[in-house]
């Protein structure tokens, strides 16, 4: 299929999914206990006050009309106003999102750059002591809750060894965050740990599968050495399923950020989401949900596009 046509179609699909997400978020907004009015006016509001508020805000109009209104607001970047922080949700997210992206993207890069070689190495040394040791560690890391792992890291590296500070960089801008790289180490490592565990397993499985493929035998029969086979053929073939997994890993990364930001007092989206949940600040919560959903859709879109670049068969419509 023509690449341009493919991109257009795939992006159109993504837009449709995002539209469905907005319907769900809108629905959730209106399923709130007492509706948005109760949330904004507080528990003490009289029914008269609520009726008046609803009329002023257009909340007594039919739902589809309200949805269109909501959608128009969204397109103008208006996600509503926080109940507790008295600030536009969009502005809050605009401040916090870059910092969360720094944390999650760094975690993902470091996590993957450890996980991929580790998984390959394990596959080559399958059922040897090294494989068993890493497998055990992976399962421990994967099954340990992120907050517990974070606490252990904090305890060891800030209290016992005193190598790193226990707080993440506190600056408001990305520049300020990067100005204090030492303080970034523990949050990033905590975020990357489960990723290393999960993706080294995927990579190990994919590599093992590919090592038993016929084409490996063909390469070997042509006199290629194990190293060359591994790096020229098996690596690329094993990477494609891992890339596909990565697209669906975006929400997991955000979930991790929620805990890590709370643990290291890092004022990103996760912390925003957490405190909004504590104070029933629904506009903020739903704004975050919308952003994370969009990120997930974009993540799988990017994964699909990368896969198309790596694997010519996808383009040929064969896989």
């Amino acid at each position: 299929m023509d690449t341009l046509l493919y991109l257009t179609r795939r992006i159109a699909q993504a837009l449709v999914v995002i539209l469905i997400v907005t319907v769900v978020v809108f629905g959730l907004l209106h399923a709130l206990p007492g509706g948005p009015a109760r949330g904004i006016l507080g528990q003490q509001a009289t029914p008269q006050q609520i009726t008046l508020f609803n009329h002023d805000q257009g909340l007594d109009r039919p739902l589809p009309v309200q949805y269109l209104y909501y959608l128009r607001q969204l397109l103008h970047g208006d996600l509503g106003t926080s109940y507790t922080l008295n600030e536009a949700v969009s502005q809050l997210i605009e401040q916090r999102l870059p910092k969360t992206l720094v944390l999650t993207v760094l975690s993902a890069i470091i996590g993957l750059s450890l996980a991929i070689p580790l998984g390959m190495w394990q596959a080559v040394r399958r059922n040897k002591p090294a494989d068993y040791v890493i497998t055990t560690l992976s399962f421990v890391a994967y099954s340990t809750p992120v907050y517990f792992l974070g606490l252990v890291l904090v305890l060891v590296f800030t209290q016992v060894l005193r190598w790193f500070p226990s707080q993440a960089p506190q600056g408001d801008t990305v520049g300020q965050v990067f100005a204090d790289p030492v303080a970034l180490v523990l949050p990033v490592v905590t975020g990357a740990a489960s990723m290393v565990a999960a993706f080294s397993r995927y990579m190990r499985a994919a590599t093992l599968e590919n090592l038993s493929e016929d084409y490996v035998r063909t390469a070997r029969a042509g006199g290629s050495r194990q190293r060359a086979i591994l790096f020229k053929h098996v690596f690329r073939n094993s990477l494609t399923p891992v890339i596909a997994m990565l697209g669906y890993y975006v929400p997991v990364l955000f979930g991790g950020a929620l805990v890590v930001e709370q643990l290291f007092n890092y004022p990103g989206m996760g912390l925003l989401f957490w405190s909004a949940a504590q104070s029933s600040d629904y506009p903020v919560l739903l704004g975050c949900v919308l952003v994370i959903s969009v990120a997930t859709v974009v993540g799988s879109l990017l994964a699909d596009i990368v896969q198309r670049v790596v694997d010519p068969r996808v383009k040929g419509g064969l896989v």
């Binding site: 493929e213 016929d214 084409y215 035998r217 063909t218 390469a219 070997r220 029969a221 042509g222 006199g223 290629s224 050495r225 194990q226 060359a228 020229k232 053929h233 690329r236 073939n237 494609t240 790596v310 694997d311 010519p312 068969r313 040929g316 419509g317 064969l318």
Partner: protein, 552 residues
């Protein structure tokens, strides 16, 4: 003459979870330069293990003993580095499955160049040029352009040519070919065998040809070694072994091979009289299209065929000819875009719900893959009983058990197997379970799609016998889809030859296959190798003359 491959008293044992399994015992053989030795046998005989051992390519859980020497190098005791120097240069290999033998993500030119550069100190550019030259040598059209293609962009036959190009890249003294044409259509098989023969003759390469196909042996080999349960039971010149076998097993094996009768006398095949019964299934001008838009595939175009009560119709053709699709239309699994399908006189396209189910209850089906077509989580009895559960809802459990036992007996399977899982059975037994399941509702039509293609010849023979006998006893009609003309000739009263989604020709089997009316059928028949080296040599000459005559 000097031997390029010498195997002395080779033994190979696989260590598995259930203990050590000896796969090859005391095998000794030689391949001289320029000579082709065919290693034949049924599945599990150890022939592929010998082939892999020749290049030191045995899997990790295998232990080899004895001596394997390739061009003077001892392979059994060699380390990986030494083996890597040998493979692709002194000896190389062509594998069975061209679909998976190439790295799907690497361009074919690059894969060939890799083999060149593994053994010779040439620049990338020189290696790429050499890859193009090799592609030209193995008969790939437009090699410059094709070199940058990915494997999925090539047909099966072209992929096998690429694998061969890789194998001959460094002019090896020994070529090991493990079922090199088994996954290919007969006409492509003939081309690949011609290619291998020419390459071997040109460069004096010795060939170890592993195959189960006696026709291929007759066509290609100088000498034959027959393997049974890990041992060589008979060795000799191809004429000796195929025409005057001495070992009892070789005789049995050869007797089980269906032979395509090419002269009027017909060796043993039964010519059945034409049946004038009522049609059980009828396809009228059926067209089927898969997909939409410009990418749509025309699978069938105005196909008409009829199967009458009690008769067997063979549906033959190469892969992609639409024969399986036609069978699926008859089964109601594929809805035609246009045309009519009637089953037992009723219009299948109009039948809905209960009426449709009742119609389809009259059709039994046996598919090619005996492993995939039975649910591994069900016991044999459950597999066979499933149609009863669907179509005879009122039937009690005891009655159902009784019926299952009855059909298992019909297909000559012992009752005790009913409780086992399909995995515990052999391929032939599984296929008979499929047959039992197909017959449990006493169908008026049996649709068999390549029912014996995955089986060894001796097993194929029993399964075909069972079908024939039951047909005589129960009187069902049969639509028999097969790529194997010899089997169809033996089995079907009428034959329909398909090509590119159309019916090429049809008629009584004997007259159609002996005196084909179309050029295509003639070529198809000419491409089938028959297991008689003397006759086959004649046929090959005539086929090549036909090929050039037709300007192919």
């Amino acid at each position: 003459m000097n031997s390029i491959l010498e195997i002395e008293n080779l033994g190979v044992t696989f260590s598995t979870e259930s203990g050590d399994v000896p796969a090859v015992r005391g095998v000794s053989l030689r391949v001289a330069a320029g000579e082709t030795l065919a290693l034949v046998g049924e599945s599990g005989s150890g022939k592929s293990t010998v082939a892999l051992a020749a290049l030191g390519l045995l899997p990790g859980n295998a232990r080899a003993s004895g001596g394997v020497s390739v061009g003077g190098t001892d392979v059994v005791g060699a380390g990986e580095a030494e083996l890597a120097r040998l493979r692709g240069r002194t000896a190389s290999m062509v594998f069975q499955e061209p679909a998976t033998a190439l790295d799907p993500l690497t361009r074919i030119g690059k894969q060939i160049a890799e083999v060149v550069r593994n053994h010779r100190d040439v620049s990338r550019r020189e290696a790429a040029a050499e890859a193009v030259a090799l592609l030209r040598r193995v008969g790939i059209p437009e090699p410059e352009r094709r070199a940058s293609a990915f494997p999925f962009q090539l047909s099966g036959g072209q992929r096998q040519r690429v694998v061969i190009a890789m194998a001959i890249a460094n002019s090896p003294g020994l070529l090991v070919a493990d079922e090199p044409t088994t996954a290919l259509d007969v006409t492509v098989q003939a081309e690949i065998l011609d290619l291998l023969r020419a390459l071997a003759a040109d460069s004096g390469t010795g060939v170890l040809l592993v195959t189960h196909n006696m026709g291929v042996v007759a066509d290609f080999a100088d000498r034959v070694a027959v393997m049974l349960e890990g041992e060589i039971v008979e060795t000799g010149a191809v004429e000796e072994v195929l025409l005057r076998p001495t070992h009892e097993y070789t005789r049995r094996l050869l007797a089980a091979v269906p032979r395509l009768a090419v002269t009027g006398s017909g060796n043993g095949s039964v010519v059945r009289e034409e049946v004038e019964g009522a049609p059980v299934v009828e396809l009228r001008d059926v067209s089927v299209r898969f997909g939409r838009g410009p990418g749509a595939v025309r699978a069938l175009e105005e196909v008409s065929l009829t199967v009458r009560a009690g008769e067997t119709v063979g549906l033959v053709g190469e892969s992609g000819s639409g024969k399986s699709t036609a069978a699926r239309v008859a089964l109601g699994l594929v809805a035609p875009e246009s045309g009519g399908v009637s089953l037992f006189g009723a219009d299948l396209r109009k039948a809905r719900g209960r009426a449709r189910r009742a119609l389809l209850a009259g059709v039994g089906v046996v598919l090619q893959d005996p492993v995939a077509s039975l649910d591994a989580r069900m016991s044999v009895a459950e597999c066979v009983a499933e149609p009863l559960r669907v179509h005879r809802r009122g039937m009690g459990a005891a009655e159902r058990r009784e019926r299952v036992a009855e059909v298992l007996e019909l297909v000559r399977l012992p009752r005790e197997l009913a409780r086992r899982g399909p995995r515990e059975l052999s391929g032939g037994q599984r296929q008979r379970v499929s047959l039992a399941r197909a017959l449990v509702l006493e169908p008026r039509l049996l649709v068999a799609d390549e029912p014996t293609s995955a089986l060894d010849v001796s097993v194929q023979q029993t399964v075909l016998e069972v079908i024939s006998e039951l047909q005589a006893e129960l009187g069902f009609a049969c639509l028999f889809v097969s790529h194997d003309l010899a089997v169809v000739q033996q089995f079907a009263g009428r034959v329909v030859v398909m090509r590119d989604g159309r019916v090429e020709e049809q008629g009584p089997t004997m007259s159609t296959l002996l005196h084909p009316e179309t050029e295509y059928t003639r070529r198809l028949i000419a491409a089938v190798p028959i297991p008689d080296p003397v006759l086959q040599r004649e046929r090959r000459k005539r086929r090549l003359a036909l090929g050039t005559g037709a300007g192919a």
